[in-house]
Symmetry: C2
Subunit: 370 residues, 2 copies
């Protein structure tokens, strides 16, 4: 290798996705990654950035929507202008991660990128970093490496990755081949996956040489590849705006899993490093209950600076984004999300149904609160 | 008689009581009687006033707190200055109704007053008026007359009145004597009361010659009587403010039931006219559910102009005093009361516990929202 392996590493943080199931906390204008959902004092994107710096330093690129430029810059003041990639409109993860790969590849074709979504909760740090280190070493052997999460419950909310045979890579003792990616299973199937030990959660974490990412993108999504390559060629030139305005809107919308990971796995080019750290994509308010243990005294998880919550025989989750007094009386496993212009009252068991509520509100024209 | 019986009639509306169980809708600064709790388009005090005008015309006196002067005048623009009696501090119903009696008696000793609380829901109007007419005729024979409500359920939330023998009064065929007033019963006892047919709810409605009211007040609460008489003597003179400021704060706090009605009943001076109209004191949010039938489509009672409520598998009561979007998902018999600075989430079964929440908030110093 021309460089030390870790000198080649570049973090990429795709920061898209509204987090519809976290409405009304998460909004189009203030998506999930701009919130502190764990009471840590940091927003999810800030925590994601801080998690990568021990390995990447300031070599971290963020891909997000043009509308979030200001909020992201406030969260990440150290972010260099060249590391901020703004989408004029959302085009799914294939275009977002593909563009980062194409730009980084133009700047340095030896780059190994590591893509980690901006809205996940991970810990402890040292276990995460050890998995990323193994993934970088594995990627350096010419693999697209996904970090699979060792499941703790038979979740039906995540896709799974079936581990193949163990690879023999120096400095990556736990790396395996990937036999296949599988979609979100039924509960019965999820239970079998958990029992078998061969299936890990697909957390959407990818570490790979940009060259290999782009090779598979070109093979499987030639139109997307050509568009991204044209944009990347213009990116660090005065033509950027003109080319982006012309090409970006024409790009197909496709997830990176379908555009690259799954076909590359079929070609035998994907490896996996198991992650034994805690991981959650904070998909709904029930997750917030899991991630923020309730106080022993009142069985309530309360999230929000200066929340003024009174409870009597109540349990569940309260997210307070206002300074209002909230009184909860005689109600169990409740979810109350209080924001200045919208209020959600549901139960932990119905947390997934929030998505439909948002869709109905959108269809009814109540778009000012979405 | 010197006058036609109805020329002697004067309506009195005591408008006190915060309605703690209706927090956070009802507040110290915006008590129950200033709200429209039935979706009628009228506040309770406005409806109470309108209910009396067919019999009293504009001969209606309102007794309320000094702090509610402006709100009451906005609700009742036709109220004459001489018909507005303002309390500098609350002194319970004995002083409030007693002062009205004393002032009206000074102005015309032949007055028959009819006292009807400002925060009750009554209907239909013609049945109510017929009961009041009988009560006025009965009062004219020298009785304190209470209108008892024929119970429809074995309520443990109201006091009861046991009917005595039927009186023989022209124009008041249904009037009876009162055997006794009884306190709120246990559920078993309430069931017996309902079955017997002799027990009616005590709705706190009194029709009586002021002279007789004051006679019993003097007998049973001489200190209160003397204070009220001194204030009444000064009321329509320039000395009013000085005398009120000196005497009112010294008056004992006692309910009119104990100060007058119960001892007068023991003396055989109280009669009852049964009311077969619908009556509710709107004591809690469960009452609001009863009084405002849920929409057939979504099983939700929604109160509030411009409420923006989305519901999915939810039932109960929503009171919206804000313009926020409220989304309810998968929750039954819920009570959500949304105001600009305070939010209540409870269930219809726990509606009575709201009072304790308010007491705890008061003890915690959260008085800005009470």
């Amino acid at each position: 290798m021309a460089q030390n392996t870790f000198d080649r590493f570049y973090g990429v943080i795709p920061a898209g996705g509204v987090g519809t199931r976290l409405w009304p906390l998460s909004r189009a204008a203030a998506p999930k990654f701009l919130h502190d959902l764990t009471g840590s004092g940091s927003t999810l994107i800030r925590s994601t950035y801080d998690r990568l710096t021990p390995l990447a330093g300031e070599r971290i690129m963020v891909v997000t929507g043009e509308v979030h430029r200001q909020a992201v810059c406030e969260q990440l003041p150290e972010l260099d202008e060249q590391d901020l990639v703004l989408e004029s409109e959302p085009k799914d993860s294939g275009a977002a991660i593909g563009l980062a790969a194409a730009i980084l590849h133009r700047r340095d074709p030896e780059t190994i990128m590591g893509s980690f979504a901006a809205d996940q909760v991970v810990g402890p740090l040292d276990v995460f970093l050890e998995a990323v280190r193994e993934a970088v070493h594995t990627a350096a052997t010419g693999k697209i490496v996904t970090i699979g999460i060792r499941p703790t419950v038979p979740s039906t909310g995540f896709g799974y990755i079936r581990a193949g045979e163990r690879l023999s890579i120096d400095d990556a003792p736990s790396a395996t081949a990937v036999a296949e990616f599988v979609e979100k299973p039924s509960e019965d199937v999820a239970r079998k996956y958990l029992a078998s030990g061969d299936y890990l959660w697909n957390a959407g974490m990818f570490v790979a040489p940009t060259a290999l990412m782009l090779k598979h993108l070109e093979l499987n999504q030639p139109e997307l590849y050509r568009g991204l390559d044209e944009i990347a060629a213009a990116w660090d030139t005065p033509q950027r705006d003109e080319v982006v305005a012309r090409v970006w809107p024409t790009l197909p919308k496709i997830a990176i899993d379908y555009a690259v990971a799954e076909p590359a796995a079929d070609a035998g080019d994907v490896a996996m490093v198991p992650g034994v750290f805690t991981w959650d994509d904070v998909g709904d308010f029930a997750a917030i209950g899991r991630l923020n243990p309730a106080s022993e005294n009142n069985h309530l998880t309360v999230l929000g600076d200066g929340a003024r919550v009174y409870s009597d025989q109540a349990s569940g989750v309260v997210v307070s984004d206002s300074k209002r007094v909230i009184a909860l009386i005689g109600i169990d496993d409740v979810v109350v999300v209080d924001t200045p212009d919208a209020l959600l009252v549901t139960t932990e068991d119905h947390a997934q149904q929030v998505k439909q509520a948002v869709e109905t509100l959108k269809a009814s024209g109540e778009v000012d609160v979405l």
